[in-house]
Amino acid sequence: MEKTSGSRLEACFVFLMFVLGVVITAISWGYGFGSLRRPGPGLYPVFIGVMICIFTLSILVSTVRSKAGGPVLDKEGAKRLLLMAGTFCLWIVAMPLLGYVVVTCLATYAFCKIMKLEGWWKPLAVSVGTTLFIYLMFDYWLYVDFPRGILG
């Protein structure tokens, strides 16, 4: 059996986690390990960093040896994941500029379309309903201070 893209991706991820473990250990050492008698602020994170290195190395070995596991995402799935994550990010970036009402309505509409909700009136109804619910719940009832943006 050939090595699949799914397990290769996981191996890369685990390797990155190993590097992170090394970085955590190195940075923590710089905070001052102290001694067992008088522990410094770095002692605890050094232990954690070392544990992360040990665990990731062991998982890495078994992941590299393993040949099971298909691809995590197909092309369509990857596209949809990117679109979903992109919409989440756009909501944050655009909110201070356009205000939460417009951005929330647009983001809900976008999510509906990404998830293939057919037609235009159903997504519109969902997005207007969601925005109204959020306005009533968070703005009107809980007094959350949202950015209003240039549209007020």
Binding site: S35, P39, I48, A85, L117, I134
Partner: protein
Amino acid sequence: MEGFDLLYNGFINSLTMVNLFACFIGALIGTIVGVLPGLGPTATMALMLPFTLSYGPTTGLIMMTGVWYGAMYGGSTTSILVNIPGEAASVVTCLDGYQMSKKGRAGAALAMVAVGSFVAGTLGILGLQFFAPFLGNAALSFGPPEFLSFMILAFVLLSNLSSDAPLKGALMIAFGLFLSSIGINPMDSYPRFTFGSDTLMQGIDFLPIAMGLFGISEILNIALETYVKPEVNKIRLKDLYPSREEVRRSIAPTLRGSVLGFFVGLLPGPCTVISTFVSYSLEKRIAKNPGAFGHGAVEGVVAPESANNSAVMGSMIPLLTLGIPFAAPSAIMLAGLRMHNVEPGPMLFTTNPDVFWTFIAAMYLGNIMLLILNLPLVGLFGKIAVIRPQILMPVISLICLVGVYSVRNSFFDVWVMIAAGVVGFFLLKWKYPIAPFIIGVVLGPTTENSLRQTLMTFKGDLSLILNRRLSVTLLALAVAFLAYKFASPYLGKKFALKVEPDNTL
């Protein structure tokens, strides 16, 4: 008699409009979440944390437990009606529940599950009411070495019981512990991993991590799946009457499931899920006709559903008596209580006894509410199960975004939630357990304090921990469990830790 006076006061406190409303809303939302496949009780509880901030800690605790509890009730509905478990603890119910439905006994199965859950819930609350104050008093003698030993035991059990790959569970705990160390360390006011950022000085908040890992990752997962509309059988009120034979066969499994579930609830890990598997296996093992299991045996439906309800109450014991959550939903509860400056643990019963007793009283009321909700409205909940994710997920996505932002008015928290969601999506795909990560985040500060205080108390000589009887017992249990885990493949099937039923879904 003092306990009854406190419980009486608890009832007086819980019978306020706010607490009753919180209990009802929690139970209702929990049932809906349990019915809907996908979003579980943990994500919902995290999502509801911002709402609880407007009220007191007791109200928040009641609402969140209502969600957890309601999800256990509601999870069985879709398992029985459409063979789709609403949440993980109802997977086992599909085995016999759906078979009963195919035989035209769906109504009876739902009724028996609702009554069984009520009985189990009530027994669980009774257990919590009697054991928690007793254990809380015992926990007063815990010092830093005992807490450290307890953490080690909890982490060993958690990493082993949460997934098939204990190393993955252990790695998740380690990352959770690391994440909790970001920010100013309260012991010596030293900033760690902040890289000069003012935002990181405060540390990474628990809520966006929990909502990202449990909410956003699940939304992404559902968004990428192909939706198949389930067929739901219509249930009328008169269909809910079980036969005399079904009632007779359900009594003992309900009681066994309740007791078993309560004790499994004390274990670290996904206790509600484990309790259902253990309970199902037990019923099948002691049944006169084990061949009926998987073909619509009522025992295989009521026992696991009773077990998961009492497991919820069992898992409240370590949270309330030691301040140590053993399951992801109780970790969310701990975070919620800390937001209200209430620290559960041995001192809870002396400093905030009203919180505990009001909570207990509200749970009795909530259990009755759930029974009333679940029996007549089962047809309605069945209809909710067919709401398309294309409508539901966009709404939940936006509530997650706004909910996280609303807690601290921080866009940084929203970025953290999205990052955690994307990472969580891949972790789920690669079968890394999420719950140990969250529990690691919550227990991080306590673990560090216990470790450093133990080291300072023993002047660096950790072997002195062996002079503490309780610590030695806890560490010995951890070592024994690890030894058993390593040895079990060589001991044969008879000694293997088996919690799954023979049937696969």
